[in-house]
């Protein structure tokens, strides 16, 4: 399957400059940065190391060797509750599709990273705050089921504000669905890594994000169960700056590794190299010829 159009476009860096904006200001150090430089630097500020949020396809692009075979793209959201707040839910979805160039909060598919075939999921905060509705749950579940069938290692990049309110309990139940799929996948002896990016909270944090064999946190990412504001409201005091940061979690023993974005790919490759038996992979690939490696 060829690369989706959107990915090809990003890869070729053919975004019209007037669309992307020529300059961006770093919200951390205030430096004004040339947008193309930022993008070339994996959306990390070249001055202070601030991590801008990264588009799911950009992320995929920065990781995979060649083609990315997307699966689950045909799974699209409904409006099970007939939700309306300021706007009807379908309108919000439409606006997010427009804004994010994504069909939902996660992109899932198969790819090779440095020659390692993997199942890969990348969440994107720009679609409904990366919240998990039934589509995110279904795509994640499909990904793990597909990875289990093919005995591929699975990698998921998380970025989420939690369960998606607009789908009510149907969204929350995705925690149960995904947890079961991950458990089944791991119980068969397969290898799973999660990469927690900014922010990873709520129902995603409390399900597949923290079930992994190896948990990598992207530097400076905010990670936790309850949101920072909820905690501050509850305890009625300001939280220290480093609270719920990746670095804080490393000290508290919650994650295996913290890595800045430019080192995430190499970290993943090193871990795959340790955890995955190349001989097994090759035999799997022979058995599933339709899965072409670049």
């Amino acid at each position: 399957m060829p690369m989706p159009d959107w990915l090809s476009i990003r890869r070729d860096k053919q975004i019209p400059a007037e669309e992307a904006g020529l300059w961006e200001k770093c919200p951390s150090c205030g430096e004004v940065l040339y947008s193309k430089d930022v993008e070339a630097n994996l959306s990390v500020c070249s001055k202070c190391g601030y991590h801008f949020r990264m588009h799911a396809y950009d992320r995929i692009n920065s990781l995979v060797d060649d083609d990315f075979v997307e699966i689950g793209a045909d799974i699209l959201p409904g409006d099970p509750l007939g939700w309306v707040d300021k706007r009807p839910y379908p309108q919000k979805l439409e606006a997010d599709r427009e804004k994010s160039k994504l069909s939902e909060g996660i992109v899932t598919g198969l790819a090779a990273i440095e020659g390692f075939p993997v199942a890969l999921g990348v969440m994107d905060f720009s679609f409904r705050g990366g919240t998990m509705g039934t589509v995110v749950g279904e795509r994640v579940t499909n990904l793990f089921e597909e990875a289990r069938r093919r005995r591929l290692p699975c990698i998921v990049f998380t970025a989420s504000g939690g369960a998606r309110m607009e789908e009510g309990m149907l969204a929350l139940a995705q925690m149960a669905k995904t947890t079961q799929a991950v458990e089944r996948f791991m119980n068969d002896g397969n290898f799973y890594m999660s990469v927690l990016t900014d922010p990873t909270t709520g129902g995603v944090s409390a399900s597949f994000a923290f079930q992994a064999d190896i948990i990598i946190a992207e530097a400076r990412a905010a990670i936790g169960f309850a949101g920072r504001r909820v905690i501050e409201q509850t305890i009625r005091q300001k939280l220290p700056d480093n609270f719920q940061t990746a670095e804080f979690l490393l000290e508290k023993g919650h994650v295996d590794v913290v890595a800045p974005r430019p080192r995430i790919r190499e970290t993943l490759v090193r871990m795959l190299d340790y955890a995955v038996d190349r001989r097994r992979i090759l035999s799997v690939l022979k058995a599933v010829p339709e899965f072409a490696l670049g």
Partner: protein
């Protein structure tokens, strides 16, 4: 201020008057009592017969609503087990061996307090990582010993304190969900009061989920939802309308397998009878499930949650519509 408690106050005069007339007796009292009682009944039916979602939220939080210990008292026996083996025993999560109609089982419950003092001790039913780790330890033990797992869910949500974050609340909840995924024994969950978000689901990944009529089970608290949507927690009633957190909604969505009708005015109007009915249904569910093999149980539980969602045909046609 609980909405239902306020309503109940409006009946108090009427109830007292009926009582007085009854005790006084006399020739004309009979007719008067009948009249008053009939208007009393009418009023109650009018007020309680068709509760709004927000009224149900208040019912689920009613200070006299049956709590976990009211249900636990009806099991043949209960021996509490403590601790996560690492850090602390969490009083918000009560768990232990139990028996129901002679059947050995593992009982795991969120316990709110009845008064301020007990609520402080029980952290208002908000479970800390230690509580979830105690739960997953005992779920795993139950599975090892082939004991069915019965859970009673009643929490505003998982504890959102600093300590809980420091000790990896997310990991603890994911651990419970994983333990329930692995369990090769029947799992029956009952949402006895408030089913608050992931902190509730952690105990409710079950083969059979029972929900009393006026309990709530929600992706977010109405207050939290309102504050996110409109930056105004006081619009919780509106949020409650939208969240589909009532038993009827959830049965329709396949989140809940069985709804148990409550007495007019709520479960607390007749706690002994109501809790007994719930126990009856838990027993019936266990009876149906215990004939299945561990593999069957796991497989069917997987498939049950596998199906939940609204993406299916609707979504593939790109049409927004409620799932069946």
């Amino acid at each position: 201020m609980n909405l239902i408690v306020e309503r109940e106050k409006s009946f108090e005069g009427l109830e007292q008057r009926i009582q007085e007339l009854r005790s006084r007796g006399g020739a004309d009292a009979g007719a008067q009592i009948q009249r008053l009682e009939s208007s009393y009944e009418e009023l109650r039916r009018e007020i309680f017969g068709n509760l709004t979602p927000w009224e149900r939220v208040n019912m689920a939080r009613h200070p006299r609503r049956p709590l976990a210990n009211d249900y636990i008292a009806l099991f043949d026996q209960f021996d509490e087990l403590h601790g996560d083996r690492h850090f602390r025993d969490d009083p918000a999560l009560v768990a232990g061996f139990s028996k129901l109609r002679g059947r050995r089982l593992m009982l795991i419950a969120q316990q709110k307090g009845r008064d301020v003092k007990e609520n402080i001790r029980r952290n208002f039913g908000m479970v800390s990582p230690e509580g979830y780790r105690k739960a997953s330890r005992l779920m795993t033990l139950a599975s090892r010993l082939r004991l069915p797992i019965v859970t009673l869910v009643d929490t505003p949500g998982a504890d959102p304190g600093i300590g809980s974050e420091e000790r990896a609340q997310s990991e603890a909840i994911a651990g419970c969900l994983t333990a329930l995924s692995k369990a090769g024994v029947p799992v029956v969950a009952t949402i006895i009061g408030e089913g608050g978000s992931g902190g509730a689901l952690a105990l409710a990944l079950a083969d059979w989920v029972i929900m009393p009529q006026h309990s709530i089970y929600s992706v977010a608290s109405p207050e939290g939802c309102a504050s996110i949507l409109w930056g105004d927690a006081s619009r919780a009633a509106e949020a409650a309308e939208r969240l589909c957190l009532t038993s009827n909604d959830l049965e329709r969505f396949g989140i809940v397998d069985e709804v148990i009708a409550e007495p007019l005015g709520g479960a607390h109007r007749d706690t002994p009878a109501f809790t007994a009915t719930v126990i009856e249904e838990i027993d019936a569910a266990l009876r149906r499930l215990e004939v299945q093999s561990p593999e069957q149980l796991r497989e069917r539980r997987y498939e049950k949650y596998r199906r939940i969602g609204s993406w299916q045909e609707d979504a593939r046609r790109g049409i927004a519509s409620a799932a069946t």
